[in-house]
């Protein structure tokens, strides 16, 4: 509320009003609509990924999928916090936060607790924790700009950063999400599509081992639809993992030269 005297919230975003009450552009059952960015329904955004984004970290990666921009730094293995109990295996500590300007309307840019724990769950099955007993590996992610499918991008970027830090893993973890809009399944949704979705599916996958480390489904799904969605995601994950692998190879060859 603008400038009502005596309130703490003294400013408002001028673009907020125009966003409200816009009719959904995604009609039910209509298969003719095009996605806002002109992609096919089963086409992912072009991915730009690089390792070694942050010099101060043991390993790091930057990922840019359309307007979604993420940096992940990995620190350690280093001494666990004093208060921690003794542990034979290593610990993985994950944290995801947003910048204040990441979202269309300015936010407080606080930690994202839910994403932090989901990132942890997605990675813990892939990291060989036995290789760093008694110590902790910290995985910190910062979403610079949120453009939809944030969590899958964070997860893929984090596994790349772990690889860059030389933390042993069973396999790279690639993650892709998918939105259900009416009768259609759209892969790698942008923010606008996510806000109108009827259901979502997110898969984090280790392609070489053919293992799923995390699967999140929201909304109402029929069994054939879930199968179709799963298959789409698994294929996309395999492709993404190939890109990630070539990015890692590229980084090592350039550093050797």
């Amino acid at each position: 509320m603008a400038g009502r005297p005596g309130t703490n919230q003294t400013s408002y975003s001028p673009s907020l009003k125009t966003q409200k009450g816009r009719p959904p552009i995604f009609k039910d059952g209509d298969t003719d609509w095009v996605r806002p960015d002109g992609r096919g329904f089963h086409q992912c955004r072009p991915a730009f990924i690089r390792t070694g984004a942050v010099n101060a970290a043991s390993g790091s990666a930057y990922a840019e999928f359309g307007n979604t921009k993420v940096i992940v730094s990995v620190f350690g293995p280093r001494e666990s916090k004093k208060a921690m109990m003794y542990s034979d295996i290593g610990r993985l500590n994950c944290n995801v936060s947003y910048t204040t300007f990441a979202t269309p309307v300015r936010s407080q840019g606080s930690d994202h607790k839910e994403f932090s724990s989901m990132l942890h769950k997605a990675l813990e099955g892939a990291v060989i924790l036995e290789t760093f007993p008694k110590t902790t590996v910290d995985v910190f992610a910062l979403v610079l700009e949120s453009g939809g499918s944030d969590l899958p991008v964070v997860i893929s970027c984090a596994s790349l950063a772990l690889a860059d830090a030389g933390i042993l893993m069973y396999d790279l973890v690639a993650s892709v999400s998918l939105s259900c809009l009416g009768k259609n399944l759209v892969i790698d949704p942008i923010l606008e599509e996510e806000s109108y979705q009827d259901g979502s599916l997110m898969v984090t996958f280790m392609p070489s081992r053919y293992e799923v480390t995390q699967l999140t489904v929201t909304g109402e799904w029929s069994t054939p639809k879930i199968n179709e969605g799963m298959q789409l995601c698994l294929d996309a994950c395999s492709k993404l993992a190939k890109i990630m692998r070539s990015c890692l190879k590229e980084a090592t060859t350039t550093s050797q030269e």
Partner: protein, 304 residues
């Protein structure tokens, strides 16, 4: 056996890397005596600097600045507020500096670094006291509405001299800022004019076209380390951790002194040392002005 001498003798016998780790200060002093730093820089020169304006699409103005490995991302989001009764024709700018845990092994989530409030206040002071932004330009409707510019600076990679890079990115973001075109709607609220209905809606336009701010004297800074008789410009994180006396000088584009900050520590900065620091900063301001101009002009070429 006296310790300093011991390390001096040992340097002939042990490997360079071991010597650097065991006696970092001696290692540095040996370089300084030869007027060179371990990364190959002369004492008075800064690291390679670059600016990339427009790094954040969701913000009204943004820039990424890199000095060596130190990386800062600044972005401005414009919101509308009611101006104060005392200053009805002025907008406001809120500066905030963040060091997220990704930028350095020292910062942990939930525990902000000690440097953050210091840098945040100094930034805010430098920007306001330089008079770079005419707050009257941020006014929309006198006494009713004005712009509130939220300038947030994030440290993405911390490798020494955080303030210099933060100020550079903040200044670059301000020069990239485009104030959106807005109009006053029936509820007395300011709304953004969208591209499509901008022409046909004949509402009261408060700000008809996207416009840039006119920046007056732009502040630039240089941090120097004072160690014995040596002055090291633009220190890395390692240099800062070994030699502790730091002086930060902020000058504007016409070389007026805006701020000088020297927090405590052992070596008392003498008058001549301070003057040398200011002279170095004067040189650096010229470099930075050129880099900023080049970044802005390449941005305009991109648009055409």
């Amino acid at each position: 056996m006296g310790l300093p001498d011991a390390s001096g003798d040992l340097s002939l016998e042990m490997e360079v890397d071991a010597f650097r780790r065991l006696f970092p200060l001696r290692f540095y002093e040996r370089h300084l005596a030869e007027s060179i730093r371990p990364d190959g820089r002369p004492l008075g020169s800064a690291r390679e600097t670059s600016i990339a304006p427009g790094a954040v699409a969701s913000a009204d103005g943004s820039a990424l600045a890199k000095i060596g490995s130190t990386t800062m991302l600044a972005a401005i989001k414009m919101e509308v507020m009611t101006p104060t009764i005392e200053l009805p024709d002025e907008g406001c700018i809120a500066v905030d500096f963040h060091m997220p845990p990704i930028c350095s092994p020292i910062v942990r989530p939930g525990r902000p670094s000690e440097a953050v409030p210091v840098v945040s206040t100094t930034l805010s002071d430098s920007i306001s006291s330089s008079g770079m932004i005419n707050l009257k330009e941020l006014s929309l409707v006198s006494g009713k509405a004005a712009w509130m510019a939220y300038l947030d600076i994030y440290c993405l990679d911390a490798d020494g001299a955080p303030f210099d890079a933060a100020l550079l990115s903040a200044v670059a973001a301000c020069s990239h800022l485009q104030i959106p075109a807005v109009s006053l709607n029936d509820d007395g609220k300011i709304v953004v004019v969208s591209e499509e209905d901008g022409g046909k809606l004949d509402k009261e336009h408060v700000n008809r076209e996207k416009r840039k701010l006119t920046l007056r004297s732009i502040p630039f800074s240089l941090t120097c380390i004072l160690h014995k008789n040596y002055i090291l410009a633009d220190p890395t994180a390692q240099e800062e951790s070994i030699m502790e006396t730091v002086v930060t000088v902020v000058l504007d584009s016409s070389s007026h002194l805006i701020s000088l900050y020297k927090p405590g520590r052992a070596v008392l900065a003498s008058t001549s040392a301070v003057q040398d620091c200011i002279a170095l900063t004067r040189q650096r301001v010229r470099e930075l002005l050129k880099i900023l101009d080049e970044a802005n002009s390449s941005m305009e070429v991109d648009k055409v």
